[in-house]
């Protein structure tokens, strides 16, 4: 494991955000030292509002003061700005012959990270916000999403691809593993039963230092959702 490097990195974040956790885990995997700043989303800092005026959202990575926004954009940026650190995406080979193969592996990783972004958080939110038939529909969709991801994983230990064990897709997905417990309780299903290989992948990731350090316990996430529901007046 590389010694932590000083690189003038500040992450504006919110403790339970899976999007922020992606960035924390990526920097940990790369051995990059960073300053973590917790934002109060009810009272956003001037720095956050100045750094992400378009969306006013976390996470925002500031590198030597310059903001990078959108978690997957941040992950790509970390690979490209720090090429000597373990890469999340499979590296492009120098010679022309391998270019298409390497590019294909990268395209595949980007596709699945985009799939996770489009489907997972939104479906999960519907699980704990809705009741009755719409909730049942969200549960069916969630099982479908998780099974689709499990099929992509196949018999591999990790989605992998980069220089370390955790690749682009692993880092994009792993923060959601602490939400599985909440999905199960609200959805009335079991991840272990519905997709045992994905459940095994989640356990395997949990044993990796960078993941263990930056994810919160499933119970804590469940309590957080409870607080959110009260706040929005959802029974």
């Amino acid at each position: 494991m590389a010694a932590e490097k000083k690189a003038d990195l500040v992450l504006l974040d919110f403790w339970v955000s899976p999007f922020g956790q992606r960035c924390r885990i990526a920097m940990a995997e790369k051995g990059l030292d960073f300053e973590y700043r917790e934002e109060d989303l009810a009272n956003k800092s001037d720095l956050l509002l100045r750094s992400n005026p378009v969306h006013k959202k976390i996470p925002v990575l500031l590198h030597a003061g310059r903001p990078v926004c959108e978690s997957l954009v941040i992950l790509s940026y970390l690979d490209e700005a720090f090429p000597d650190t373990p890469q999340l995406l499979p590296p492009l080979s120098a010679a022309g012959a391998g270019a298409a193969d390497a590019a294909y592996a990268r395209a595949r990783a980007r596709f699945w990270a985009d799939y996770i972004d489009k489907k997972l958080y939104d479906c999960g939110s519907r699980l704990w916000k809705l009741k009755g038939e719409p909730q049942a529909q969200a549960r069916a969709e969630m099982v479908e999403i998780l099974r689709t991801l499990e099929a992509e994983l196949g018999d591999r230990d990790f989605f992998g691809g980069g220089g370390g064990r955790l690749g682009f897709v692993d880092v994009a997905l792993v923060p959601f593993t602490s939400w599985f417990y909440s999905y199960e309780r609200y959805g009335g299903f079991s991840v272990e039963e519905a997709c045992p290989k994905l459940a095994a992948w989640a356990r395997r990731c949990g044993e990796i230092d960078s993941v263990a350090k930056h994810l919160h316990s499933p119970e804590k996430v469940y309590d957080f959702i409870g607080v959110l529901k009260k706040k929005y007046g959802i029974e």
Binding site: L92, G98, A103, R106, F111
Partner: protein, 232 residues
Amino acid sequence: MAGGGELKLLGVWSSPYAIRVRVVLNLKSLPYEYVEEDLADKSALLLASNPVNKTVPVLLHGGRPVNESQVIVQYLDEAWPDRPPVLPSDPYERAVARFWAAYVDDKVGPAWLGIVFRSKTEEERAAAVAQAVAALETLEEAFKECSRGKPFFGGDGIGFVDVVLGCYLGWFTAINKLIGRRLIDPARTPALAAWEERFRASEAAKGVVPDDADKMLEFRLILLGVSASKAK
């Protein structure tokens, strides 16, 4: 041609996402076989190549499928490193380009769908138009920052954000006719209005960015399942 074989693109002539890939293939002078899909009767090849989303565009390179238009564009940059790149080389500039590309598809995309296909009332359509205009006003500022006085978001030449936004221009022409005014209003978004002319006139856009508003509006009606006599 890079190692890996022939290129085939499954698309629909009016799909901004397919148009996007075709513009980039033009920019890179990459020959390809184009296959027009019928969304009401999708080919077995499409369904097998994109089982998750079952949608166009799909790029097949030597038979291997690449899906999602922004992913395809980056693939084309990376698989042909000797051709003109669409993304800049500096990591920070790439992050800025990706940010704005994500913004376009998150904001302009749904507004376009709302205006053209999903609004059922005048009010809904007006709301979708307002969303598009608001996004375009933000993009006016983004254009000024990214272009730094040059003709395109990408600078001297067409870049990533240019193709991501430019692929919607065919539908903008049709929308202009539908709503009776220009979506990219030269009074409100002058830099973007000038950019629109330049993009449409470019070699890369020729033949792939539609300019026949009537044809697109007819296509719209077919998709909506409404006959011309009942059209609004």
